[in-house]
Amino acid sequence: MASDKTIDNPDRRDFLGVTTAVVGAVGVGAACIPFISSMNPSKDVKAKATSMVDLSSIPEGKTHIVEWQGKPVFVVHRTDEMIAEMEDSSTELDPQADKDRVQQPQWLVVLGICTHLGCVPNRTDKGWSCPCHGSIYDNSGRVVRGPAPNNLIVPHYEFVDEKKIIIGKA
């Protein structure tokens, strides 16, 4: 049986050992990529990543709830009073100007998920109130009263034409 004590150049053997281990580890790591990647959303799921909303069917002052990526999105056709009121007001919990939350003032698009613990807030005249823990949002989707820490999220959306938006990025 060959003994380790008799090898001429132990450093060389260490180098070979370490090299083998590193190359092996890189190989195993690379082989993990497809498996981990397979758990990401598949192509058919990604195909549903955007939702098209026809705005012409939403009367002034009304809200439509549309589904985007399995989540509710509130699309509000705001009246002139609402717009005026929102542009003048401000909130303290998560201060943000109304104009930064809309692309066109008459259309408010927010994710219908309470930023507290994920419930769907109910529509009121003044905005929304969350049935779970009583958070209140105004007509700009900004949080007026906690426990919610943040304003309702404005998802990425684009106007395709005057009366059509597409929510989400493909």
Partner: protein, 433 residues
């Protein structure tokens, strides 16, 4: 730091001991050839099958209305789904190829003989588990071949006297292969690999108790053993590299090679494909099934064709060490057996008509005939070797082996061994003086 962590563990768990005992100081005969690589490769492919299978199960749907489409979903939509599925389908074929070579090695070199009978039997149990797992897995894509293969194989149990029909209905959970069958096959296909993994542990415990056999068939003296690590880890990894080149060539360049084209048509209970063929690894056994004109007899013959391997330690009572190396008669038999299995595989893939039937029946006769001939051949070889003796170098090794065995606490003394030792001593002493 690392050293400290190791000693912390060692105080609580025999980690270093296990590594030393099973790896860095585990003695392996130094004369193993590349035929001894296949067990390790089979273990590797088992892990590939486990991992790829678990990831496939994340996307597969075991429901007759969804199963076929969920495979298409995996192939087209799931990220790298094509790769994972082709790894799994090619892996199944590779698994059988490796296991068949592994078994052929055992037969050729007589590795099933004392003291490795239990090792051999656990291996046969593993083969049966593997076959059951592969068969159930093959139903899951719910293609035409999946469906009709399962229909035919479950029908085999219908040949059981009296209770046949009840058993078949129980197996299927339906009057035909249906949703109940698919769901239970999926559940069991997920379960069995873990039973296989457990059986592999038993197989390895048995191996590490009796140690590896070697081409000479003579248990070598301690000085002829080398530690498993680094000598055989290196050799196993080299063999694995060669295997992976071939395996990946199929996975990436010809994955459909192992998949029957008809299985890309969704299962249709109203329409049998014109020619049903099992997967290649079942072909020899399928040929045996069809060669027997009687239905029940065919099923018995098919099961016997695998179970008869378990009888090898009894059929082969030779005192000549090892397998084919020192045994000219046996050597011819193992090669005839190999050719015969290929003939059976070819017949299994052909429609049962004309000369194929006769050839299949002859090949089946030879298959079982070889096993039944073995006791007589080994007795004759024994007689010859008692008169002429083996090559003197081999006899010296046997003398060393026997003398070492006598010092082993687990060795059960046998008169026949001592007679053999006495004869060898007489021959060797006579010549050495």
């Amino acid at each position: 730091m690392l050293k400290k962590a190791f000693s912390w563990v060692d105080e609580r768990f025999p980690l270093s001991e296990v590594i030393k005992h099973e790896l860095t100081e585990y003695p392996v005969p130094r004369n193993l050839n590349y035929m001894w690589n296949f067990g390790f490769m089979a273990l590797f492919i088992l892990i590939v099958q486990l991992v790829s299978g678990i990831f496939l199960a994340m996307h597969y749907k075991a429901d007759v209305t969804l199963a076929f489409d969920s495979i298409q979903h995996i192939m087209r939509d799931v990220n790298y789904g094509w790769l994972i599925r082709y790894l799994h389908s090619t892996g199944a074929s590779a698994f059988f190829a490796l296991i068949f070579i592994h078994m052929w090695r055992t037969l050729y070199y007589g590795s099933y003989r004392r003291p490795r009978e239990l090792l051999w039997w656990t291996g046969i149990v593993l083969l049966l588990l593997l076959m059951a797992t592969a068969f159930m897995g093959y139903l899951l894509p719910w293609g035409q071949m999946s469906y009709w293969g399962a229909q035919v194989i479950t029908s085999l149990f219908g040949t059981t006297p009296i209770y046949g029909e009840d058993i078949v209905r129980w197996l299927r959970g339906d009057f035909v292969v249906g949703d109940a069958t698919l769901t239970r096959f999926f559940a069991l296909h997920y379960l069995f690999p873990f039973i296989i993994a457990g059986a592999v542990v038993i197989h390895l415990v048995a191996l590490h108790w009796v140690k590896s056999s070697n081409p000479s068939g003579i248990t070598l003296h301690a000085k002829d053993n080398i530690p498993f690590h680094p000598y055989y880890t290196t050799k196993d990894l080299f063999g694995l590299g060669v295997f992976l080149i071939i395996f990946c060539a199929f996975v990436f360049f010809n994955p459909e090679f192992w998949i029957e084209a008809d299985n890309n048509i969704a299962a249709d209970p109203m329409q049998t494909p014109s020619h049903i063929v099992p997967e290649w690894y079942f072909l020899p056994f399928y040929a045996i099934l069809r060669s027997i004109p009687d239905a029940l007899g065919g099923v018995i013959a098919m099961f016997m064709s695998i179970l008869i391997f378990a009888a090898m330690p009894w059929l082969d009572r030779s005192k000549v060490p090892g397998g084919a190396l020192f045994r000219p008669g046996y050597r011819i038999m193992v090669y005839v057996f190999l050719v015969d299995v290929f003939v059976l595989a070819y017949i299994g893939a052909k429609p049962p008509e004309g000369s194929f039937v006769i050839i299949g029946q002859i090949a089946t006769f030879i298959y079982f005939g070889l096993f039944l001939l073995l006791p007589f051949v080994s007795a004759r070889e024994d007689r010859r070797s008692r008169i002429e003796g083996l090559p003197r170098e081999a006899e010296r090794l046997i003398r060393e082996e026997q003398e070492e065995l006598l010092r082993n606490e687990h060795y059960l003394r046998r008169d026949e061994d001592e007679v053999l030792l006495g004869q060898i001593r007489k021959r060797l002493d006579g010549e050495e003086q």
